[in-house]
């Protein structure tokens, strides 16, 4: 009887139980993490990354290259030297802002997949504000151009937000459709009205006129294309982190994402919250686009975003939807992308493997039953039938 009691006590108190084997140690290690929410999410993300990288390695093997060599080249290309780090930060800068755009939406329970569209429209309109508004000093012109980009991005996200808030239209498909429409609309506008007569006829990618110096983001490092866009992203992340901790909006937003019905009964105007969230998300997307066209490109270049808006989803989820976590997630994906480009040059593995790895990460990063499947926890999920 007493032995039975001991057994029960030992199960109750994992921390005092001696480890029977290495496997046992691992099991208890993971179980202890499971009890702490934040740590377990962190661990889940780590497992997702490792699984995706492993799958990527297998694919590299199938193609007949050496995965260890490839990943070494990737690591070296992303953090191996100061120039590599600068380039990683350059690639990360728009990702921080699109990640924040996604995080803001997801936290409030709005699945905005239209950041890409907002990004394109923001990039074009900021560039136009930079080119066609003349005679202003940098201190006014640059913020104005950024604001125009953010506003147009916000207006674009306003449509699906409005449809969701007042017509109950699902925002997922609506925002996806609007991405395609945005890209086509912009192509039309650039090709028929704003084409640079020099670049436009020689390059295969249509572009606008160059943006004058008064509207361009100052460079931190011109050689590596790093602008103060990254500082904008980091500052925004801190502001949002503060808002989520301290402001009424942050609380209501989290609450309506966590439990829609409860927050409705608690007096949150859900329709307004949805609309507002969508617009904020779109504005951030537009701002991300603006920092790109006013930054390293110095003009609007058609098709400049290789899915930066969609990367935002991975970035935000990597950071567990927290603003500061999003910054970390953005730097991680920036490193992957930049390292991938370096890897393409040194090893015969194209950078598209990064897209594959990113997709795989996304596929399992939200898998809440992953640990149950891996037999790392004893507690069964209540949802399991």
């Amino acid at each position: 009887m007493s032995a039975e009691k001991d057994r029960i006590r030992s199960i109750k108190d994992d921390s005092k139980r001696p480890y029977r084997s290495f496997a046992d140690f691992i099991k208890i290690f993971f179980r202890r993490f499971r009890s702490k929410n934040r740590a377990s999410v962190l661990l889940q993300t780590a497992v997702a990354i490792i699984l995706a990288l492993l799958a990527g390695a297998i694919l590299v093997l199938i193609v007949g290259e050496n995965p260890i060599k490839a990943y070494m080249a990737l690591a070296k290309g992303s953090f191996g030297s100061w120039p590599a780090i600068a380039r990683t930060l350059r690639v990360s800068s728009p990702l921080i802002i699109t990640g924040l755009a996604t995080a803001v939406a997801f936290r409030a329970g709005v699945i905005n997949l239209g950041v890409e569209g907002s990004l394109y429209l923001g990039a074009l309109s900021a560039a136009l504000a930079g080119i066609y508004i003349k005679g202003l000093p940098l201190a006014i012109h640059l913020p104005l151009a950024l604001l125009v980009g953010a506003l147009v991005g916000g207006i674009w996200a306003f449509f699906p937000g409005l449809l969701k808030a007042f017509f109950g239209v699902d925002e997922i498909v609506a925002s996806l459709m609007l991405n395609y429409i945005a890209v086509l609309l912009i192509d039309y506008l650039v090709l028929s009205f704003f084409l640079d007569p020099v670049i436009g006829t020689t390059s295969d990618r249509p572009a606008t006129l160059p943006i004058p110096e008064t509207a361009k983001l100052p460079f931190i490092s011109e050689k590596y294309g790093l602008t103060i866009g990254i500082l904008i992203g980091v500052v925004l992340a801190f502001i949002l982190a503060f808002m989520y901790k301290r402001s009424i909006w942050g609380f209501e937003s989290d609450m309506s994402g966590y439990n829609r019905r409860f927050s409705l009964l608690g007096g949150v105007n859900i329709a307004k919250m949805n609309l507002f969230t969508m617009v904020i998300s779109g504005m951030l997307g537009g701002l991300a686009g603006a920092t790109e066209s006013l930054g390293v490109y110095g003009r609007y270049v058609s098709g400049f975003s290789t899915g930066i808006g969609f990367d935002g989803v991975a970035v935000a989820l990597m950071g567990n939807l927290s603003p500061l976590g999003t910054v970390v997630g953005a730097i991680f994906f920036g490193a992957l992308k930049n390292g991938g480009a370096a890897m393409e040059v040194s090893v015969n593995v194209p950078r598209d493997i990064i897209l594959v790895v990113e997709g795989l990460i996304l596929a399992v990063v939200t898998a809440h039953k992953l640990f149950i499947f891996l037999r790392l926890g004893l507690q069964k999920s209540t949802e399991e039938i």
Binding site: L113, V173, L184, Y188, L355, V364, E383
Partner: protein, 297 residues
């Protein structure tokens, strides 16, 4: 102008454009009935389109190529099922992940294995032969709908019939629907809910592969990067409008196909290409507003 839009040629074009939409939408509808919000269809279609063309060149037999393609995308469908059903990933996020994966892997293979970045075209691509039934050659409407189409176009109709009978008329379909309606209740009744969910995921993969093959192999005999261009999402939308009802889904897919063919017609009237290309997406958006279906749980 209007009479030119509604013509027999239009009917043929509508059928041609609808085929991938119908196939993919029926796949999405099956998933939807099992309560899976399978947005990964877009990616499956892309991989299907890619594999069909690639294998058809390598194997020099379009039928075998089609079979392997469909098996591979079916496998991917099961993988998506594994991630969402067993591992409990968010359906939309996992779908997005699979779509990125599809974009990445097709671009990768195009570039590093085939050495033709951007697209793949080969004179040795064997497309499926078109079928001509002489019996209905002289019947105007039937002739346009059923003649000079290839195997995949026919298969869309067969798939429609089978899916309709399966989902709405058979006891297995009832089990599938029960799983989707209320999994707990269904499993209490002894229905193998996990099995039916995987079954739906598998069929969605197969249908999407067939749809992708119909885009690349049937009409164009080429593959270009990102050639599905959101058609998977449109098919997904078509399925959600009809709430997974097979007949309604097919009608919606046909409607979207019709708008697609209208768009092609309008190009001849001097409308800017970009606006013409926008029409399918705009129509989907409009349909969303009118039906107000919710894709989320």
């Amino acid at each position: 102008m209007f009479s030119a839009l509604i013509s027999l040629g239009m009917l043929g074009a509508t059928i041609r454009i609808s085929t991938p939409l119908i196939l993919a939408a029926i796949g999405a509808a099956l998933s939807l009935k099992a309560n899976l919000f399978n947005t990964a269809i877009e990616g499956f279609m892309l991989i299907g389109a890619f594999l069909a063309v690639l294998l058809s060149t390598k194997l020099e037999n379009p039928y075998v190529a089609l079979l392997i393609t469909v098996l591979m995308t079916g496998l991917l469908g099961v993988l998506y099922g594994f991630v969402t059903i067993t591992l409990g990933s968010d359906h939309i996020i996992a779908g997005l992940g699979f779509n990125l994966f599809a974009t990445g892997i097709t671009t990768w293979i195009l570039q590093s294995v085939l050495n033709s970045p951007g697209g793949f075209m080969d004179p040795s691509i064997k497309n499926l032969p078109v079928v001509n039934i002489e019996l209905i050659n002289n019947i105007p409407i039937l002739n346009v709908i059923f003649n000079d189409q290839d195997l995949i176009t026919y298969s869309a109709w067969i798939v429609f019939a089978i899916a309709y009978l399966f989902v709405h008329q058979s006891k297995f379909g009832l089990r599938l629907r029960a799983t989707g309606e209320y999994q707990l209740a269904a499993s209490t009744l002894g229905i193998k809910t996990i099995f039916w969910k995987y079954f739906a995921a598998l069929w969605t993969g197969i249908m999407a592969g067939l749809a992708g093959a119909s885009i690349s192999l049937s009409h164009l005999q080429m593959f270009s990067q990102g050639m599905t261009a959101g058609r998977g999402f449109i098919a997904f939308a078509a399925a959600t409008f009809a709430n997974g009802n097979i007949l309604g889904t097919t009608v919606m897919a046909l409607l979207f196909g019709f708008f697609g063919s209208v768009a092609i017609r309008l190009e001849g009237y001097g409308l800017p290409t970009q606006f013409v290309q926008m029409i399918p997406y705009l129509m989907t958006l409009l349909a969303l507003i009118f039906t107000r279906r919710n894709t989320k749980k």
